[in-house]
């Protein structure tokens, strides 16, 4: 990696540009070149990236991975997220690339900073936002992002309502995201091909500029449905070329969804009875075929409604209830759903 100054502005503007000589005879200029040089590899994350190395040295890559917390994040990803095998594979590849790059930089080899902008495509409820959060943690651990927070933006946050409103609005969001991840949900809504007076195009331009200027500081992740993202990229070729990683999120299978539901129930401190587990599986079999299915989000909603039915059932019980009753969802709670009665009319 070439030595870069993390604090230089977007255009490398600082005191001491050619038209403004900073080295006056008596003057110690702000930000002048006379300042002590920044360390060659600025410590951005709080993790020690290690000393510079000579050509004869060797490095234990496993050690680098451990100290950067890469394995931790990837294992957590494996452990906590169900399914998503291709996504996990892509993240492993990316993490490996970043680790190797990091070490190459320590050897003094010139590696361009890899582009971190990504595009996540997939149907609703396939874990795009969740993975974006993990991604931020991973990039932070590797020292590519200083903070690793995620700023979520939709069209409303980026596009203004009148002339001259869009650029400051978009810039503000980008500034908030510096040092972290800017997650643009449903990015294709930025572009409205039918309406030439729409300000979405301006937001895209500003975003593109920010993706170039702040390449060092922010990772932009665009997310949305695969087919509409393709249309979006066709209309904005500049965007396509600035995004290095396209990750496609597959739909969850029913078994995976049932597993997700099981984990959600555990997270809520509840248990499913054996019949309820079967009922949940049956429910999901039917639900995936019905309209408005939104992946893991639908599972969450189904469980929320089951909890309501459980609460109603318990509230109408005369007599005493104990811990097991309060903490168990039964098959009846799930089977009362209208999904079993054919669901919404198509």
């Amino acid at each position: 990696m070439p030595r870069t100054d993390p604090v230089a502005g977007p255009d490398g503007l600082r005191a001491g540009t050619p038209d403004r000589p900073a080295a006056g005879p008596t003057r110690i200029a702000f930000g002048s070149a006379a300042a002590p040089p920044a360390p060659a590899e600025p410590d951005r994350s709080g993790h020690d990236t290690g000393p510079d190395l000579g050509p004869a040295d060797t490095v234990d890559l496993g050690e680098v991975r451990r100290s950067a917390g890469v394995d931790e994040v990837l294992d957590a990803l494996d452990r906590e997220l169900v399914g998503l095998a291709p996504v996990k594979q892509r993240l492993r590849e990316l993490a490996a690339l970043l680790v190797v790059d990091r070490v190459r930089a320590r050897f003094g080899a010139t590696t361009d900073r890899p582009t971190l902008h990504m595009c996540f495509t997939g149907n609703p409820g396939t874990g795009k936002t969740t993975v974006a959060q993990r991604m931020a943690g991973l990039l932070h651990g590797l020292g590519y992002l200083r903070h690793g927070h995620v700023v979520t933006a939709t069209r409303d946050d980026l596009v203004g309502q009148y002339v001259g409103h869009t650029a400051p609005k978009t810039k503000e969001i980008v500034q908030k995201a510096l040092g972290g991840v800017l997650f643009v949900d449903e990015a294709y809504y930025l572009h409205r091909p039918g309406n030439e007076r729409d300000y979405g195009g301006e937001a895209i331009e500003i975003l593109l500029q920010a993706m170039e200027d702040h390449r060092e500081d922010v990772a932009v992740i665009l997310a949305g449905y695969a087919d509409r993202m393709d249309t979006f990229f066709t209309a904005n070729p500049g965007m396509q070329s600035r995004i290095a990683h396209h990750v496609d999120f597959p739909d969850f299978t029913v078994t995976e969804l049932a597993e997700i539901g099981q984990r959600m129930v555990d997270g809520l401190g509840l248990t499913l009875s054996a019949e309820a587990s079967v009922a949940l599986h049956d429910y999901l079999e039917l639900r995936v075929e019905q309209p408005w299915f939104a992946g893991a989000r639908s599972v969450r909603n189904a469980l929320d409604r089951a909890r309501m039915r459980q609460a109603l059932r318990l509230a109408s019980v005369t007599g005493r209830v104990g811990m097991p009753e309060l903490c168990t969802l039964t098959a009846a709670d799930l089977r009362a759903s209208r999904v079993f009665a054919g669901g919404l009319a198509r």
Binding site: V7, G9, D11, L13, D19, G24, A29, P36, Q175, L178
Partner: protein
């Protein structure tokens, strides 16, 4: 004469790295930062012109430094400062304010004495820079005669 206003003003001018570190300190305390500029260095000139709006909800100093650099570019021979505002109840004031740019040549001040009745002397500070109209006080060396506004 080198003016000393705000925090760190008796230290050598801060480098960009040091400025970033100070902004990081302010943001770490939850103080939003604002960039201001002026060409009137009088110590009682508290209301400087704002460079854009104060920046809220930033996590990273790079965003503030980008604005500082934009302001430096538009006003290469002005005083530029960063203010960090602490909005917490009971404080609600500027918590940190420091210069990030000063003009190349600072003409300084003169002390004026006005003798009144009974040989009483009133004192006032006169800034040589303000003898010229605003916008022409610190000409850009070798550059166009600045009007104090961004060239668009």
């Amino acid at each position: 004469m080198r003016i000393t206003q705000g925090t760190f003003s008796f230290l050598p001018d801060l480098t960009d790295d040091e400025i970033t570190a100070q902004i990081g300190y302010a943001l770490g305390h939850g103080w939003p930062c604002a960039v201001e500029f002026t060409d009137d260095p009088h110590p009682r000139n508290t209301y400087w012109e704002m460079w854009g709006m104060p920046m809220f909800d930033l996590a990273d100093p790079a965003g503030v430094l980008a604005e500082v650099n934009a302001c430096r570019e538009a006003h290469p021979e002005h005083y530029v400062r960063v203010n960090a505002y602490d909005a917490s109840l009971g404080r609600q004031t500027v918590a940190l304010s420091f210069l990030v740019q000063r003009p190349t040549a600072e003409p300084g001040f003169r002390l004026d004495r006005a003798e009144g009745a009974d040989r009483r002397i009133g004192y006032t500070v006169h800034s040589y820079a303000t003898e010229r109209p605003s916008g022409t006080r610190y000409p850009v060396p070798g550059g166009h005669q600045g009007n104090g506004r961004a060239a668009h």
